[in-house]
């Protein structure tokens, strides 16, 4: 397994280089280093000297991808791309264009993201699995039909609608929870209730349909028929056999998103004023802070690759028939 993990990590390097290159090219197609300098220095009373000085101080005074004037390998290494990219592979994110340490900011902002993402994931799993099991129990009835219709309706609604609707009803009309904000420690609880509820409700439609499909597939298998033939009750069949075997795709599906929980939610964090990594990314894009955008894309890609690797490993753990080679 170790050899497999090492090989996968080695495969990840060119992927990350590619992602980084793509981000770099896309960003600099619409922005020049001068634009970045101007957006950091402001519009008023900015002189050309100030722009050149800023670029020099922040390492944007070199050619972007290829240095014609340099010799040998320095044609590639004496560039903005090389300077800004290499250190990322050591997870040294450097400083944002406005001067803050990105690594420090990430270490501070991942906790609020996790504070929303973890309970939303766990509660969502509980609700979705329970609901899907109930539907599976009443499969091929009107309840099944209307439940599926209900799920389709839920998944057709925009997340933004859930957020605004939730804020309007629970906070504005009924005064049950704060409309937005965040705090540290246990004081954060009251701010998390609404985003977590909305996150769970927003995920019911797609989650339940997916799990229902998995359960129905398992229910149709021979071992389930055998269990019923042995006189087992439907509840025991569902919970002892169907649920246990259906957990394989469920678990692997969950494992792949676990690392991405750090990255937070762009819209939810912005609307609820949660200082997580999602709103950090949005801030970086809006401020044209290339250092933040590049770091967050790199981190997201690395975590996604990690998620896929963990999924493969988790397969071997939950299904003894699978071997990594």
């Amino acid at each position: 397994m170790i050899a497999y993990i090492v090989r996968r990590i080695a495969y990840a390097v060119p992927i990350l280089v590619g992602v980084n290159l793509l981000t770099f090219v896309l960003f600099f197609v619409v922005n020049t280093p001068d634009n970045i300098a101007r957006s950091q220095l402001g519009d008023k009373r900015v002189t050309e000297e100030a722009i050149q000085s800023w670029k020099q101080a922040h390492g944007y005074d070199k050619p972007l991808l290829f240095n014609v004037e340099a010799q040998g390998s320095q044609k590639f290494t004496e560039t903005v791309f090389f300077d800004k990219s290499v250190r990322l592979f050591a997870f040294d994110f450097g400083r944002s264009d406005s001067g803050r340490d990105i690594g420090h900011d990430i270490s501070q902002r991942m906790w609020p993201s996790l504070a929303i993402a973890v309970p939303t994931l766990l509660l969502g799993l509980l609700v979705n699995i329970s609901f899907a099991l109930t539907i599976a129990l009443f499969r091929a009835t009107y309840f099944d039909l209307w439940a599926v219709v209900f799920c389709v309706v839920l998944l057709s609604v925009s997340t933004l609608f859930y957020i605004i609707g939730g804020q309007f009803l629970l906070s504005k009309m009924f005064h049950l929870v704060p409309i937005s904000g965040y705090d540290t420690g246990l004081d954060a609880t009251k701010f998390l209730i609404l985003p977590v509820i909305i996150g769970v409700i927003g995920g019911i439609g797609s989650g339940t349909r997916w799990y229902r499909t998995i359960f129905l597939e398992e229910i149709g298998k021979d071992y389930v028929r055998t269990a019923r033939a042995k006189g087992m009750s439907e509840v025991r069949v569902l919970f002892r056999h169907v649920l246990q075997n259906a957990l394989i795709p469920i678990l692997t599906g969950v494992v792949v998103i676990l690392p991405l929980l750090f990255m937070g939610s762009l819209i939810t964090e912005s609307f609820f004023g949660i200082p997580g990594l999602g709103s950090y990314t949005i801030d970086g894009i809006q401020r044209q802070d290339f250092a933040i955008v590049r770091s967050m894309v790199f981190l997201g890609s690395a975590l996604y690759i990690l998620g896929l690797l963990l999924t493969d490993i988790s397969y071997t753990m939950v299904d003894p028939r699978v071997r990594l080679s």
């Binding site: 902002r109 804020q167 009803l169 009924f174 409309i179």
Partner: protein
């Protein structure tokens, strides 16, 4: 079955009842703040965008000034109540003295403008002003600084400045002001004022060059003691006096002295923050201010919340005892002579979205709020005279509305280098004037700003010296005076001018081709479509074809810099209340294309430039007004801009918020704010009682849904297979 169902409903009802009973009838569930702070003298407000810089040499935006202007104290400030805006001493004993010198060093009278080679400003600060408590100023028993040589281990263990428990203070001295001016000259700090001050302060540019060399020799991350580098034009005279020498006569220099750029900086803070390792913890002077002002930043989390608390060492200041005629009547002098500040703490929460911000204001959790377009109709209505007033809903809540015309202008500019639209030929002038009449900015204000603005008659907004109101203040090329107010000339007049310009019905009389004009638009999304369509429609009123070229702000800026734009919209916020700060937007040598200056339309008129050069060095006087009138006549005739509008700011305040008088120049007004926390708490409790029946309803629905499922399942389980 029914009995089971009713039993479940009883349980659900009991649960809700239990929650109601156990809930204190005076508590609110949606309070985002700690309940123990309920009756405290704390201001609650919000900020929309994370500040970029809190270092006074770098910060240059109103968002950032709302924090640092309460912490840092430049030598001067604007009087809170007096209008027109008046500079008064803040940390200095009196207004600075100014002496004028010729090249040979002879002292001359300030009226001999042509002979003045240097102006020398002398500032004498009040003794016994002390800095806020700060670790950089903490000293041990032996008198040595405690935290100026932190070990790597100590720095590694730091999470924030609060981890350094010892704090100290010291007296403010003249050298601190000089130190800050030297910081401004340091290219390493990228101060936006380096360029402007380099033109005026003697020795400023030379110091910048010397510091570049010094930093190269020193290496990154090491402290550079600016005290060792002389700045010839800025001198410490004695412990409390310093002197600044500027080139020529520059009366506007005093306005800069009311901005945080010129606030004092203790060298100890610079040294403290330059210790290696602190920057990696985001513990920098750019994020943790050290000032002498009424407040100090005690919680600095720009991603969530910024908290300022009363500075225990504040030197003391009292509420103004005089103002304008109606200030007493409006209750603005009720606190006259009382010591400032009135509040103990100010909590600013990051609130990016308008909906939550507005609702929290309505719930009483923010003490003040702006009004977004979404909420405008809910908050404000216009009476038959066109005056803005609060809606009944807002009045019932006891809110107050404060409106003021900003010292800003949004204009539509013509690129004067363009061969068709630009230039100083009479046909080109007539074409620009025709378009100026056709583009109806009254309608623009009404549709796109909810009526929040006044049409501009020239570059100067009201309350700036040189502005004329009434009949004599109108732009006669666009407006007539009728029924006691300006009335836009009819479109037929624009059509007539177009014929005279050689473009009857928008067709070039010589070539027979339609005149196509390109408009550079910064378009961010679908919301801009209506605005752009409206602009196109204005041009089509006189038969002109307008091609909209939507772009992002970066491309727009590039086009402005290289002069490829034809028509564009832009704006300007004043730095200080002087006509020079608006007219310089049309001064030839400030051309955007030629000098990367602020003259975006690249307007050049030698007569205007000559008058500008005379006017900018004059004190406000009838002679200055006369020159301004002449300048106004020239630019109205030449019409390099469609003058657009001066935006009006609308702000709402709860009934417990006192001493509101919009001051568009002063940023340090938090100290004048007075609150009634008990009234606020009472209103919050009234307005935010939790409504519990929906919880019971949801619980009931779930229970009712489960019962038939359980019953059905049991029946199925009991059923025989055959």
């Amino acid at each position: 079955m029914l009995s089971k169902l009713s039993g479940c409903l009883v349980i659900a009802g009991f649960a809700v009842g239990l929650v109601s009973v156990t809930t204190d009838s005076h508590s609110t569930w949606n309070n985002p703040y700690t309940s123990s702070d309920a009756n405290k003298n704390i201001l609650y407000s919000s900020f929309e965008e994370r500040p970029k810089h809190l270092d006074p040499v770098r910060s240059y935006s109103s968002d950032e000034y709302s924090f640092i202007a309460q912490i840092y104290e430049p030598p001067l400030q604007y009087h809170f109540l007096k209008r027109p805006y008046t500079l008064i001493p803040l940390t200095v004993v009196d207004m600075p003295t100014v002496n004028y010198f010729t090249d040979s060093g002879e002292e001359i009278d300030g009226r001999e403008t042509a002979r003045i080679a240097y102006s020398e400003y002398q500032f004498r600060i009040n003794p016994a002003i002390r800095y806020q408590p700060h670790p950089a100023l903490a000293r041990g028993a032996d008198g040595g600084y405690l935290y100026h040589a932190l070990s790597a281990d100590k720095i590694a263990a730091l999470h924030g400045l609060a981890d350094l428990t010892e704090q100290g203070t010291r007296e403010l001295i003249a050298e601190d002001y000089v130190y800050q001016i030297k910081r401004m000259a340091d290219p390493h700090l990228h101060s936006p004022l380096t360029g402007v001050m380099g033109e005026y302060i003697v020795g400023f540019a030379e110091l910048g060059s010397a510091l570049v060399s010094a930093r190269k020799a020193l290496g990154p991350g090491q402290y550079l003691d600016l005290r060792e580098y002389p700045l010839s034009g800025v001198q410490v005279v004695d412990r409390y006096t310093y002197r600044i020498r500027v080139r020529g006569k520059y009366p506007q220099f005093l306005y800069w002295q009311a901005m945080p750029f010129f606030a004092p900086m203790p060298w100890e803070a610079d040294l403290f923050y330059s210790q290696p390792g602190l920057e990696e913890k985001n513990i920098t002077l750019d994020w943790y201010p050290v000032g002498t002002g009424p407040f100090m930043l005690t919680e600095n989390n720009p991603n969530l919340r910024m908290v300022m608390e009363r500075n225990p060492y504040f030197h003391g200041e009292t509420y103004p005892t005089g103002g304008e005629d109606d200030d007493r009547e409006n209750g603005l002098l009720a606190d006259a002579g009382r010591p400032l500040p009135f509040i103990d703490r100010a909590v600013y929460s990051l609130e990016k979205e308008t909906i939550p911000r507005w609702n929290k204001f309505l719930q009483g959790y923010y003490d003040n709020s702006g009004i977004s377009s979404d909420s405008f109709d809910q908050a404000v209505q216009f009476n038959v005279q066109g005056e803005a007033a609060l809606t009944d809903e807002m009045r019932e809540r006891g809110m107050n509305l404060a409106t003021s015309v900003s010292a800003s202008i949004y204009y539509m500019g013509f690129n004067m280098r363009n061969p068709v639209l630009g230039g100083d030929s009479e046909p080109a002038r007539k074409l620009r004037r025709a378009i100026s009449i056709a583009v109806d900015f009254e309608e623009f204000i009404s549709i796109f700003t909810n009526g929040r603005g006044i049409p501009a008659q020239g570059p100067l907004p009201p309350e700036i010296f040189g502005y004329r109101s009434g009949r004599e203040g109108i732009n006669p090329y666009v407006y007539d005076w009728a029924d006691g107010k300006p009335r836009r000339k009819p479109v037929s007049e624009a059509a007539r001018l177009l014929v005279e310009a050689g473009y009857p019905n928008g067709v070039d009389a010589q070539t027979g081709n339609p005149l196509v004009i390109h408009f550079e638009a910064v378009a961010r999304g679908p919301d801009d479509k209506a605005r752009l369509n409206w602009i196109r429609k204005q041009f089509s009123k006189i038969g002109l074809q307008l091609v909209i070229r939507p772009t992002d702000y970066n491309r727009f800026r590039e086009k402005m810099l290289n002069g490829s734009a034809e028509v564009f919209m832009w704006g300007w916020n004043a730095d200080y209340p002087d006509p020079e700060n608006f007219f310089f937007l049309l001064y030839g040598p400030n051309s955007k294309v030629e000098a990367q200056g602020e003259n975006a339309s690249n307007y050049q008129n030698p007569e205007f430039d000559r008058l500008f050069e005379r006017m900018k060095n004059m004190d406000n006087s009838p002679q200055r007004q006369e020159i301004i009138d002449q300048m106004m006549t020239i630019i109205r005739r030449d019409a390099p801009w469609i003058w657009g509008f001066h935006p009006k700011s609308f702000a709402l305040f709860h009934s417990w918020y006192h001493n509101v008088k919009p001051n568009l120049m002063a940023n340090n007004t938090l100290k004048y704010t007075r609150l009634e926390p008990q009234l606020r708490e009472k209103r919050r409790t009234e307005w935010n009682q939790p409504v519990l029946w929906p919880l019971g309803l949801v619980g009931g629905v779930i229970v009712i849904s489960i019962i038939p499922a359980v019953v059905s399942f049991r029946n199925r389980e009991k059923r025989t297979a055959l």
